[in-house]
Subunit: 280 residues, 7 copies
């Protein structure tokens, strides 16, 4: 047995045994089957995502807002190749792992990279989630006047990631949805116009109240911005020299500024005629 | 044995052995059983969540608040397909893992994605948890007047994620529950109206106190906003030219502004009659 | 041996062998034993937590504070089913894992979900821990007057998660314990009333000091809010036109405002009589 | 059997057996095959990334902006050697793991290092992601006048990581894209010029309004900055001594300052002629 | 062999073989030994921690500060049962894992819970670490006057988690050690009193300096708060109407206010006598 | 067989078998080979890093800036021994793991330590990354005048971790690169000098503009700081009493202050001569 | 065979076989060897760290700064026992894991604890790292005058964790190194004294400049704080009533205040003599 020749014979036979052993056959068959499945699934995912991106780019191109067409296409291609790179990377990794490569280091490296990207992208995710809830909870709609932080204006567009608010003087504020936390919506309810009228301390209070009420009713009847007859709340403050009366009027959303302006002018004129107006 | 023919015979026999070996039979049977169970459980979860979403959308449609119906349905579908995609993804992963695919890379990728979403969604989770405690601890209820941060108003709706507060001038503040940390509730206890009255330094202090007490009692008897007879606390400050008296009155929640207004007017008038009022 | 019939015979025998093999018997016995244990432990945990929640809800119902009973019960049920869902999920997972299912994907998914909830709940955990230390370190007790951040008032309730502070004008501030970091307790020590009295530059300083000391002692003897005879610290500042004397008096917690008011009035009167008072 | 010689014989034979055993042959063959594949893939990645960096450096050199050429090259080399070090590290790790080294400690160490770098780099990732969305969402383009935070100016360059904004007085603000959250774009819509004109209380309001309208139309016709005939909104406020009229004019983006200047001058002059101007 | 009876015989024999096989004996023996060790160690840890908690509670009861005794005991019990629950949980988990239960899901769940608690407790850990360094680095001691953030006062107690500072007017500030980052210690070094004296522009500067020096020396000799003879720094500023001299005096920690008061009074008097004082 | 002697014989033989078994030989040979490789690689890494540190220290010593030589050496040694400790720790861990020690606990401990350090070092990493981009993106160079946050001055040194900016009054601001987020560079573009000149309302505007233009051209011709002829923008504002003209002049970077000074003086003088200057 | 006796015989023999089987011998020998190594290494680490702590405590005792000796010793003991507890914990865990205990739950628990501590300690790590860089980069040295945040003073000690800065009025600011981000060093470069002198509009500018230059040179020659002859920059601003001249003088670090004082006085006097001084 310790002869070279017999060794060679033995080796040939073992090799043959390895080849004819059906256990090995099934092992290799399984591996190739798995690789095929992985490859096909990879190609399908690739095709699907590529088509989705192309669809998004086309929709963007149809949008009425002015977008730079060329740039959109360039970025569409960029995203497309980014996705197919990622899919291909996963396919290669999975195939290699089927052949028994120890790919833990590669996975660890990719995981750290993925985590870094994940950390950096967390405000992006937050934007999308908050944007979804803005729409789902009907917090505000396009056309509403809202304020968030220091930015106030008419909502022009609620997007996946940002909301565009147009200031009444024409500037457009672009705000990531994730930063739209505390919103004040001026358009969802009727607003309340509050007017303070000051008469001299010496004035006849009853007459002044009477005149105020009449003026207020006249304004109400002549305006379709006021939705309910305004109520004269009464004396608000008394100082050494003058008395302040308060009137409140429920009016249409966002119309309080105009209503207050009208009421202010009319009340001043009415009290002026009665001679009640305070000379400061 | 080293003949081709015998190899073929051997191979045929081994294959046969593999087929008739009951250990292999049980292995494959177990796998198919598991796959079946996974598939059925996946379909059940899918159906249950889909029905839950449909239920939520229907409830939303019945709600008295004006919601955009079409949008709610679209979003309902969106959530539905999102959930079924996730469930299907898990079913596929589980089935593949039963057939011996090494899916660690896929899992790692999905885990990183999941973490990124988890990070981005953490304020959403916080909103829901805080919302739950707002209700459980009865911090405030719909109709209460509260202040949180710079926003004050009547609570209109306490939702899962946001609370809507209506300002007295009509704006609606929409605040995520997670940002409602320090709340001041104006409606849960009686409020205290504090009035400071200034008389001239030369005035007779005893008479002034007497007049104040009488006026205060008169106001108390004529008002149902004041819950206890107001107490005259006494001299608050003494300056070169005048003495300030302080009166405090416990009144109904949120009624202190009105009570202070009434007390102020009445006290000024009473002291005016006595000639005690300071000429500034 | 390569006949069909003998194959069938062989298969029948192997199956029989598998059945009568005691190793398989013990394997299956162990599995069923484990499943039984898991199921029983699950049911016990379920029952215990359910009872604990019911107990908490009952305690809440007995509480003197006004809580919405119906809401408490609804939330009790909600928590109950949440806990039993979680327990059932774990039981199912454990049972399946005993039968050899590869549940890593499910665990990974649940782990990511759990982490997201954990991140969102971290301020909740912080609230409970801080609340525990507020009580353990005796930082303040119900009835103390404290200030934390911009909120000052009497402590009304120290809860697991929030502390309620009642402002002296009646509002209730509800503050999560985790935000109560830097607390000022006004009720744990005697307070110090500091009074500055200004006399004219030309006044006789010795006489003024003498009069001040006498007045202060008289006030001290007539008041039980001052715990130690107040000390006249001496000349605080000298300007071109007047000299300021400073008096400090240790008094009961939270009584300094009242003591300062009394001292101020009495000292002004006394110095007024001596003609030392500065005419501004 | 317990003789030395036979031991030696036995050993020689076993070694021989180990060598001629085809199982061992395949094992070693597989290992060397894998190592070869790993090495080749490593070299390919190395070459590709090196070429990509060289390409980036060349592009930078061609850029019209003045860059320090020498510095760009030095940094190009630095990045190149950084990447090849990383790739080589992974190749070595993978090769060693094929030979059965337990490299978990090395991986753990590298993982902690990678995480630290990942944490430190997260604002870099955020910059790139936000920069991508600025371009994709067309938030602003080169040449637009924008404001973000306290920085306002004309956009000069939108880069991968930073955006350069040129102040109208010549300074260049360099802002990381990740900090460009809330942007106000002054160039995307027409702007609104708002002018308030004050006339004396005693003035004839009808005449004043008439004069205002005429002046405004004249200015509109003579200016191509105003895109629509300005509207006279009417009386804005009424005080004891004067009345304020408000005019608003839609004009080209960023032109409101100039339009307001022109309107202001013209209106003052026109009202001055009528003698309506208030003497303050 | 395919007879039922022989199957039964075979089964009986296999069972017997399983029982008499010493390998199984050792397996079971090892398991029970391990379980016993785990149980005993668990009981020891339980006893030790329980005693430690009892010791802490007793120490707290002996403390001179007023603590609510009943509450301390309740919380002592609470902590005790919390610790024993945790220990028992670990003992059960370890015992079950010895019997081959797959407890990964339970561990994962407990791990997520532990992480949530760990995140919530991180400011607690920070407090303890910072507290340790405050003492180890001798940043301040009980009795020192310090300022941190807006809180200034005498240190009353440096605890494991919080430091109590007593304001000079009697309030106690309770500050978590983790928030004591930037501390100013007023008691560790001599303080410097800086006095500015203004003389009229026309005054004889030499004489004024001479008088200042003499006065300062006289004050220094009569005071034990000043540790070094104060130095007259010279002319600080010159304006159209007056000249300002500056004197600085090193005095005991925290005594500068009193020294400045004394120096101010004495210098004003001395210069007054010379007629140098400016009439404003 | 149950005799002691035969047991001994059996044992001796088994031991012998263990020793002569080539499988064991290869096992031990592999282990020692691996240990040797680990040791050698460790020594190489050690030597390389040590030399790198020594090189850095030497470079530092050659630097023209004044550095404390002794301190640099001490720290160089410190870093050196820190690195060699870390390398030795890894070598020991790897060697032990080859001998079959279960070192998971050690690794876990070191991992937690590493993570803590990683968290603490993340701002260090950020500094280095940002510093790299400051140079790569040519944000500013040594000698530029920049402002970041509240710090403005001439850049003196851009380091790996910090940037030194020298204020014009001589202080050196040392700012970590990671905090240099929003930079304003004053040296990269020409600056714009903006001068407002006020003439009396009654002045002849045409003449004033003429005089202004002439003066501005004269200044431009006599100065090499102004790069383009300044333009007179026209009337900026009109008030009751005066008219303001605005002139803007593009000048060299950082020269606007000097140009404005010159223009201001010259314009004032020119208008003064014409008698147009407003008497305030 | 199915007799009890033969079972017992069989059992005895199997046990004997287990005992004489050298494979078991080597297994147990290896375990005990490993345990011994672990124990010895643990003792060594224990001894080394204990000695290091003792060394640190001794150094602290020798330090010239006043430290509470007793406290230092107590804390030294505390750290010592903390370290030995940790080492012992690891030794026990490692020994148990050698005997086949499944210690994953314990490790997971300790890991969560370690992470919580790691999170809490991250600012400690940051302090040490930043402290190291302060020294390595020579940002400032003991004796320099620096400002960081709102704290300005002379550096008294740069420690591992905190830096002590002494205010010029004697307070000591203790600042964690991690919070020393943006430092201004006043001692590393010459400072620039900037003096503005105002002369009346009617004054002869040439003469005034001449007098200014002469005075400045005279001051420069008589002072060793000014390092370069000061330059008269010229007219800074021109107003209706006066002209302001600016002089800048480079002087020693931190000496600008004194130089400005001297220059101010001398220039005022010189211009006063010429009668140029403005009467305000």
């Amino acid at each position: 047995m310790i002869e070279d020749v017999s060794g060679w014979v033995q080796f040939k036979q073992s090799t043959w045994n390895y080849i004819v052993d059906p256990a090995n056959w099934t092992t290799w068959l399984t591996i190739f089957l798995k690789v095929a499945i992985i490859y096909i699934v990879g190609r399908i995912i690739n095709a699907v995502t590529r088509r989705a991106v192309a669809h998004m780019v086309q929709e963007r191109e149809k949008s009425p807002l002015k977008f730079d067409q060329r740039r959109t296409k360039t970025i569409g291609k960029l995203i497309g190749s980014l996705i197919s790179s990622t899919v291909n990377f996963f396919v290669i990794i999975l195939v290699l792992s089927q052949f028994g490569f120890n790919l833990a280091p590669i996975l660890a490296g990719a995981g750290v990279l993925g985590l870094a990207i994940g950390f950096g992208a967390q405000s992006l995710v937050k934007d999308v989630i908050t944007g979804f809830f803005i729409i789902f909870e009907d917090q505000f709609a396009v056309g509403d006047v809202i304020q968030t932080g220091n930015f106030k204006g008419t909502v022009e567009e609620i997007g996946m990631r940002v909301t565009r608010i147009r200031n009444w003087t024409g500037e457009v504020h672009i705000i990531p949805n994730g930063l739209i936390t505390q919103v004040t919506n001026f358009s969802s309810h009727n607003s309340l116009a509050v007017v303070d009228v000051t008469v001299a301390y010496e004035a006849d209070l009853e007459k002044a109240l009477q005149a105020t009420k009449e003026t207020v009713r006249r304004v109400y009847e002549g305006s379709d911005l006021i939705v309910k007859e305004p109520s004269v709340l009464g004396v608000q403050t008394v100082t050494n020299t003058d008395v302040t009366l308060r009137i409140s009027a429920e009016c249409r959303p966002n119309a309080q500024a105009e209503v207050m302006r009208v009421l202010n002018v009319e009340l001043m004129r009415a009290l002026d005629q009665l001679g009640f107006k305070k000379i400061s």
